[in-house]
Symmetry: C2
Subunit: 110 residues, 2 copies
């Protein structure tokens, strides 16, 4: 387990994903950095609402944040998603083949 990355509980992880707007934002920043303004333009909610959702994703450790002058760039932490999903599978599907795979190998360690 990486010490830098705060451990996110399964409930907190699920709550962070439990909103369509948040999932939409997550897809936008999944594979690239985006400024808050760019995200606001891409989704159909106000700027404060986008900031609010980004704060929730930040608190869950699901996004990386980088400040550059006036702009703040967000990007999704894909590794965190993998780790949290791995936790879910370990806890709620301990008898599945996938669980054997992810507990045997250290595929989720990074």
């Amino acid at each position: 387990m990486n010490a830098k990355t705060k451990a996110t509980s399964s409930v907190e992880f699920a709550k962070a994903l439990a909103d369509p707007t948040r999932q939409e934002i997550m897809i936008l920043i999944c594979c690239r950095e985006m400024s808050v303004g760019d995200i606001v333009e891409a989704v159909d909610v106000s700027q404060p609402t986008v900031s609010h959702h980004l704060a929730i994703l930040r608190d869950a450790g699901l996004v990386r944040v980088r400040n550059e002058g006036k702009h703040t760039f967000y990007s999704l932490n894909q590794g965190k998603v993998v780790v949290c999903c791995g936790n879910l599978i370990e806890v709620f599907a301990p008898q599945s083949e996938v669980t054997e795979m992810i507990t045997d190998t250290s595929a989720l360690e990074k």
Copy 2:
């Protein structure tokens, strides 16, 4: 994809997991069948509340239900958990090694 199993959206899946009582129930019935009464005894909420949570898990396709006389037995659908988590990883971590694994092989098909 199994035609019997209704496709659960990632938002619906996340919402189903986004409550500690529900996750507690999911762990209880993860690897065994339990009647509603047994679940009520094991958790610290009322019987109507347990029924309510079971209904949400049922609507999300996350539990199997079996009636036997007066009793109703619930058990977790581990395969569904694996499939839904696989979907999350594919969508939100497309560049991870795990995504290559689960898209290359058909490990999630059952």
